[in-house]
Structure formats: C-alpha cells, structure tokens
C-alpha cells in the first residue's frame, strides 16, 4: 500500500470515504433527503448516484422518522444503511426511531438483530443558518445506551472514523461540523484509512493544562493552546473523537499529567457532555487535580438567531480566559 496523502477539506474526505466504502461493500445503501441527484445540500454525497445507481443511493421523501426507521429494516434485510439527516436539528423527527428503536435493537432481541446503521448529520454553529440547523445535540444522544456518537475534528479523522462507523456492527451517529466542511483542510491518506472508535487523540502535548474537546471546538482549542505557548503556558489538547465510546484512559492519563483541565463544548451548559467528562475526571483522577476543572459551553437558551450567534458559540477568547483562570486557581 502506498503512503500517499492528499490535502482535502472535511467535506471532500467524507465524500471520498462514501465512494470508497460503497465500492468496497455492495451492501451499503445511502439514503436521505437530496442525497442523490443533488449530491446532498452540502455535496457530501456528490457523484454517488452516478456511480452506484438509484437503487443504492436513494432520495427519500422528507420523512426523517421513515429514514431512520427503514434503516432498521434495511439492516434486518442484511444491507448496510448509511442514512443522512439533512441537519441534526431534524433528528427530532426521527428521535423515536433512533432512541426508541435503533439504539435498543440488539439489546431487546438479544443480538438476533443488530443495527449496522450509520446516521450522518451536519450540526454546529458559526455559519448563520436558519433555526434548528446549528444545534449541538450530542449530549441528548449520549444519554441513549446503544448508540455510538462520533465527532471528527479533522478531514483525516473524518475519513478514518467514517470508515470505522460504517463497518461497525452497532449503530453510529456521525456528526459533521458545518463550519468544518470547508473550513477544515488537512492531509488525508489516499488508501484505506481506519481510525478505531473510542480512541481519543492527543493532538497537542502539554504539561500545565489540558483542553478537552470534540468536533470543531478542537480546532479552536488547538489555536488557543498554540498561542499560549508563547506566554509560557504549556497546554495539551485532547480530541475525544467519539463521546460514546469514551476514551476514559486517555482522559485520565493526560489530566493526571497536567493536573488542570478545561472542557469545551458548543452545546448549552446544563446537561452537556462536558459535565460527563468532569464527572469522569472526578472518578478517575480527582486527587491529581491542582485546580477545579473548568467548563466552556454555550448558554442555557435555544440556539440563537444570526445576530446573536457570535455571543453564544464559544470562541478562542472564551477558551483562553477559561484556561488562564484555571492556571491562576489552586
């Protein structure tokens, strides 16, 4: 195998992965709204219908519950559905199928049936979308046992993690940051590339404090960590890559090493996944802490309209000031 790499946007990496996985496994069926002829509203599924035909790339009616629910049936029939929910905010319409059915299928049938289902959905703020297009709902899904939740922050990981997600025998919600589609570009292996689910990535080493995050907020955290370098603060950045399964060892290791941690999420504060990380830190390595763990998050209000968005979404300044405060504490 060659070690060649190409610089791709996250969107291109996702598109390329869908192409290569569909070519590899003819059981894969892509379904969703506008995924065929239009190639997806962001072009993530571009070219698939031309290459694999209308029976494997299906423009569905606007019926999220039926998209998710029929994926269960497709899986029971021995196919491998890769469904798209056009925006994560419209997964609410599919919630009873995702939460009440897909996630429970293996458990309630004692593995007679399984949901080898991938549900892709864009989400996250910063691009001034209309209502319900930007909401970060990962914590709501994380509270549903039986569902894996994967959130890449680089193009290369998008490829490696999507490959694993599609091949995983259990259902995976694969969340793609809107801001990263074209805004994130990096080197992606041309050949098959697999990143296992549940392995966090220490994208920057550091000794004083660790910033723990996922999805687009990793990119912001990395920038903050690099800028702090010049100010004599050695900040590590841990990209969780998936929140279910959660890489507890990686969290525990780096927090124990640094003694200080900041967790960054875009979702509202109450009940967000950052709370879960902090509880995990308490369980795993409380005695190594030199300061309380800080949390950077959205606010406890619905995702706001365009003019208020920049106040809502955590930015570098907010992450930075949380890190500095953590350094002063203790």
């Amino acid at each position: 195998m060659s070690n060649k790499v190409s610089e791709l946007s996250m969107l291109e990496a996702i598109n390329e992965t869908l192409h290569s996985e569909m070519a590899r496994d003819e059981r894969i069926v892509v379904l969703g709204e506008d995924v065929g002829r239009n190639g997806g509203v962001f072009r993530a599924t571009e070219g698939l219908i031309e290459k694999f035909g209308e029976s494997r790339v299906v423009d569905t009616p606007i019926s999220e519950a039926a998209i998710a629910g029929s994926a269960v049936g497709l899986a029971m029939a021995g196919l491998v559905p890769v469904a798209e929910i056009q925006f994560l905010g419209f997964s609410y319409q599919a919630m009873h199928q995702i939460a009440g059915q897909i996630a429970r299928l293996r458990y309630r049938t004692q593995s007679r049936f399984e949901s080898q289902i991938t549900i892709r959905a864009p989400f996250g703020g910063g691009v001034r979308t209309p209502e319900l297009h930007s909401d970060s709902l990962e914590a709501q899904f994380a509270n549903i046992p039986g569902l894996k939740i994967v959130l890449p922050s680089t193009a290369s990981d998008a490829k490696g993690l999507l490959t694993s997600a599609i091949r995983d025998p259990d259902p995976v919600l694969f969340l793609e940051p809107l801001r990263g589609y074209r805004g994130i570009r990096d080197l992606v292996p041309d050949e098959e590339h697999i990143v296992p689910l549940g392995k966090a990535n220490l994208i920057k080493k550091g000794d004083d404090v660790v910033i723990i995050s996922w999805s687009y907020q990793v990119e912001l955290s990395r920038r903050v960590a690099e800028s702090l370098e010049g100010e004599g603060i050695s900040a590590a950045v841990l990209d969780l890559r998936s929140i279910v399964p959660l890489d507890i060892e990686a969290i525990s290791q780096i927090v124990s090493h640094c003694g200080r941690a900041v967790v960054v999420q875009e979702a509202p504060e109450t009940g967000g996944f950052a709370s879960e990380i902090i509880a995990t830190i308490n369980d795993e390595c409380f005695w190594s802490l030199e300061a309380p763990v800080a949390r950077v998050s959205g606010f406890d209000v619905p995702y706001p309209v365009g003019m208020l968005e920049s106040l809502y979404v955590p930015d570098e300044a907010r992450i930075r000031s949380a890190v500095l405060k953590t350094m002063e504490n203790g």
Partner: protein, 334 residues
C-alpha cells in the same frame, strides 16, 4: 361571495406585484451579504395572496412555512417589518406583534400543522368564530406531523384549512419521489375530510377554494385539505443551485405560466390594471421594503437579548450566565 369582485382582484394583484418586486430586492440584499438565507416566493404569489384574501385578518390565523411572508401584506405592515428583522437574524424577527394573527416562519417542516389543528380546536372550544390556515409544501406533507395532524383534524372537525403548496420540488426532490399518490389533495380521503386541488397560478380559483373551505369550517363541518399546484420559479433558497436538477425546458414552460405575468395580462385585458398602475405599485413596493429594512437595521440589539425570553424569569444558572456574558463583553471592550 365565493368569487372575488373586481376591487378584490385588483387588491390581489397589487399584493402579488408587491411580493414579486420585494422578492427581487430581497434576493439582491442577500447577494450583497446584507441579509441571511432567503427562500424566494417566486411562483407562489397567486397561491399565497389568493388564499389570504379569502381570509378575515381579524378572526383568522395564518401559520406560514417560510416562503410566504412577502405575500401576507393583507395581514398588515407588521408582517414585513418583522420579516426584515428575521432576515437580518435579529431576535425581534420572531415577534410579530399582537394582534396580528400570523405566526413566524416555520423551519421544521410540517411542525406547524398540528399547531394549526390545536389552535383551531381551541378557538372552537372558546366559541371564537374564525379559522386557521396553515401553509406547507409538497415536501412537508411527507412528515408524520402532517398525517397525525390531518387525522386529528378530521376526528375533531377542527376549523382548519390545510393548505399545501405543491411547487413540484422539495429542494431537489421532485414530487414523484415524494409520493406515489395521484395528488397531495387525495390524502384527505384517509382523514375523512374533503381534498381539493386548485390551480395555484390562478388567484381567483385559489380564493374560491379557500372561501369555500372557510365557510365549511365556520359552519362546523370541519377541515379541508387544499392542494395548490404551482411551479417554484426560483432557487429553493439563496444557498441552492437549481440548475443541478431542474430541467431547463420544464422551467421555461413554467415561466410561460408565471402567475404574476398572467394575472397582469388578465386584469389589463379587463381594464382593471395598466402599465402606470404597475409602475406605481412597484415603486410603492420598494419604498415600503426599504423603509422596513431601514427600521430593522436601526432596531437596537443588546447582548442581553441572547438570554432574554427563554423563560419568564432567569433560572439561577441563567443569571450566572448573564453576568458572565456581561463581564466578558466588558473585557472585550477594554
């Protein structure tokens, strides 16, 4: 009267021309980066304006999807004023002031249909005379909300008009991939209610259909599903490239039947409209739009708006978040 009289026809055309003219201006504002994503009304004017002219704004509610606001002038200038705030991404764009009986745009497809049924049901429980008309697209009709709400409306005999605008597309998805039924109106049969198909390019026909549905509802006979067939003449939104999927011959055939052009010709032939009138209305349309946009741009916005209106009063955590926000704003001003 089930058919609009000459005066009404003129008012309908005025509103259609205004909608079309303002839609052009709005598209340009978006292209200049002055407003957010826009879903143009082009091709829907006769369906929207014809429908609301058969309603009584004092008593009847309108629950739009997102393509209709420029066609709702009959409900008062507040609709446009608020819509321009909405387009700017200002939170006040969600607040159409009392007593205007128009709900803000609905982004979640089909979600307003059960609201409409509940509102109509509630009005009848309170013995209020009036109906609710909810707009939704051919695409939205595939949501479970439509089927559940249509069924409930039939059972309750709620005074509601389910107004489906079939513009042949849901973004890139053509109607034959949306349903295998002969028509969207035929879905009424399963709800046990009348289903009516009407040429949505003909404002008089639309008016008549809504007029009859309204009368029926007010007489306690319950809901009607109306399907108005039109053609989406523009892009789905400013973020869409329809040349990827709309066949150009189909589009040119639809442009031949442009509802605004056809109705201008019709009323001109009947001496109810003229070039002078056309120019005058176009000028007015732009004036009121520019005024509304200026007002919107000058509407103050404070950082506190981020936290306002979630609850009647803040939770203790929200209070902390509010002061954190103010503190960090203070810092960034330093």
């Amino acid at each position: 009267m089930a058919k609009p009289n000459d005066k009404q026809l003129q008012m309908i055309l005025e509103d259609m021309v205004i909608a079309r003219t303002q839609a052009g201006r709005l598209w340009n504002l978006q292209r200049q980066g002055q407003v957010g994503t826009i879903a143009p009304i082009d091709g829907h004017e006769a369906a929207v304006v014809g429908a609301v002219h058969a309603l009584e704004p004092e008593s009847d509610w309108v629950l739009p999807q997102y393509r209709e606001p420029l066609g709702l002038r009959r409900y008062g200038p507040e609709v446009l004023d608020t819509f321009m705030l909405y387009n700017l991404g200002h939170p006040a764009g969600g607040h159409i002031p009392d007593p205007v009986k128009v709900a803000p745009s609905q982004i979640s497809l089909g979600a307003s249909i059960p609201h409409a049924v509940g509102l109509a049901w509630g009005m009848s429980l309170k013995n209020e005379s009036g109906v609710v008309l909810v707009f939704f697209g051919d695409g939205a009709s595939s949501e479970g909300d439509f089927y559940e709400a249509g069924n409930l409306a039939g059972v309750l005999k709620a005074p509601v008009i389910l107004f489906c605008i079939n513009n042949q597309w849901a973004i890139s998805t053509p109607t034959h991939l949306q349903t295998a039924a002969d028509s969207f109106a035929s879905k009424a049969e399963a709800f046990g209610i009348p289903g009516v198909t009407v040429d949505g390019n003909d404002p008089s026909a639309v008016y008549e259909a809504v007029f009859n549905a309204r009368k029926r509802a007010l007489n306690g006979k319950g809901p009607t599903l109306i399907e108005a067939t039109v053609y989406r003449l523009g892009a789905h939104t400013t973020a869409d490239d329809p040349t990827r999927y709309v066949p150009s011959d189909e589009l040119s055939a639809a442009q031949e039947k442009d509802p605004v052009h056809a109705f201008i010709k019709d009323l001109t032939d009947r001496d109810l409209w003229s070039d002078t009138k056309q120019k005058e209305i176009e000028t007015v349309a732009l004036e009121i739009m520019d005024d509304a946009f200026e007002k919107a741009k000058n509407t103050p916005l404070s950082a506190n708006s981020l936290m306002d209106h979630c609850f009647v009063s803040d939770t203790s955590r929200q209070l902390r978040q509010r002061s954190f926000l103010m503190e960090s704003m203070g810092k960034s001003n330093e």
